[in-house]
Symmetry: C2
Subunit: 321 residues, 2 copies
Amino acid sequence: MEHSSSSSNRNNDQVSPVASLYNGIIIVIDLIFLFIKFWFRTFVELYESFTTKERDVSNDIILITGTGHGIGKELALQYSALGATIVCWDINEQLNLETVKLIKSKGGKAHGYTVDVTNREKVLETGNKVLTEVGDITILINNAGIMPQHEMLKHTEGEIRKVFEINTIAHCWMFQAFLPKMIENNKGHIVALSSIAGIVGFKNLVPYCGSKFAVRGMMEALAEEMRLYSNGTSKIQFTTVYPYMVDTGLCKRVKIRFENFLRLLKPAEVAAGIISAQRRGISELTVPRYMFFLNSFLRNFPAASSLLVRDFFDSGIESDM
Amino acid sequence: MEHSSSSSNRNNDQVSPVASLYNGIIIVIDLIFLFIKFWFRTFVELYESFTTKERDVSNDIILITGTGHGIGKELALQYSALGATIVCWDINEQLNLETVKLIKSKGGKAHGYTVDVTNREKVLETGNKVLTEVGDITILINNAGIMPQHEMLKHTEGEIRKVFEINTIAHCWMFQAFLPKMIENNKGHIVALSSIAGIVGFKNLVPYCGSKFAVRGMMEALAEEMRLYSNGTSKIQFTTVYPYMVDTGLCKRVKIRFENFLRLLKPAEVAAGIISAQRRGISELTVPRYMFFLNSFLRNFPAASSLLVRDFFDSGIESDM
């Protein structure tokens, strides 16, 4: 069971006292530098979060999945209004074509493709088509998702598999279709739609929460992979968004105590939040934004304590059954 | 797009000043009480985390998945040594039988079943068999998992689907097989094996991180669902464990800067940590435990700052290719 590490030589039992002392001093100095760099970086990031301007996207080619309705459609319309070329992907051909038409009627540039994002082969094939027909995707927005809402025991096998196929695994196929070109160009931005249910667990949403927590994990791991494999030279950016409950038809029934504080968001508002975050290069944010900090803060306390705060706000999603 | 909430009457535009003042005072009083309860609960939980004794498990029937090797096997052996009856599930018949035999040779009680946990029908069917042949499961440990380690772009379609099927979706089938009896008896404990890669993203582990973050989300959502559907009377407990890299053959290549601080754990150590957490009813913990608090703390800072801490410890999993 013993693991022999080939990358380390610190396991030597015969270290002289001088060498130990030397090692100890080096580590202490390293720790002091870490402390200084940590706070310096924190203040720089804070400062930048207030001062960074939204970058121009008029030359971008933006692929969005799930453009047939809701947040995806809003993202397509709002990005188009900023001058970007939009590549609309949806499984529903008719709704998708309506979005494309709407963009074109306003003088925007849009291309529609009918794709089931859970079909890897189809994703790679259509991805190649997009690369030749439209050009290199500079911003990829993995938005398509479904949200069955009922007790764990009432979820069907098909529903559970579909939640993970669409909300989580499909992101992998999209990475495999578009990341190679981004790495080649050392340019690109991947945006993923998670959910407030991707940082907090809610009743009636057990598989959905799983699928959305997973998005956070994959995005964090992928960003880290790009950073490390490029020795920090990668310019590919990553943004994960956690919207609060959105009125897209996905949330069938919500209860909210403080209407003004925690009201149901409109797709247009969420889309605007996502676009602003992407343009400013923010890596993670909730919409509304304060929820992210509230969640991070409460995670320092026992679960039972943060449940008190949750119960105080008394909001949740009811079963659709 | 307007959502009309049936459960709220605070959206009224015609509120008199007296009523507003009254509402305001009520909310302020509620907030003060929340503040007091929050800190009281926090101190109680802290106190209990030091004083809670490990409960007796000698009358428990404990089902563990993935008992053929590694942490699952260790859990089976150690729980058996505490007098519990062990139900061993593994897809590998031979390895599983060896574990059962080993337990029996030491005078323990064990029952072996060959099951592919990704096959829902088989899980429900074998679950029913266990309930009649052995008895009600009082502790369920979802441990079975796989861990492919390479770049996102080198993961195959089959690998990615399998990671989610085994590490995440299978938990749903196990819930559906054993939760109904636990609800009926209002007694039971579900333990899930996540991973340090379920709270932090690592390179070479993009799908794996997704699958393990998902476990956290599902467990948190399910615990919340049980609490709310029972109006707080549910006695079913939930424990999610996030072990650091374990030497089970899953981690093929690791690099670690501080050997003693971040050394590879042995399955026996991790199993001991899990059993102690379960017996004390802890809802979430990493093995070693300090990592959980370190992660929660660092999540309050910008990602770039916590990356400095990560780079300082300089550990990660290398590709197996």
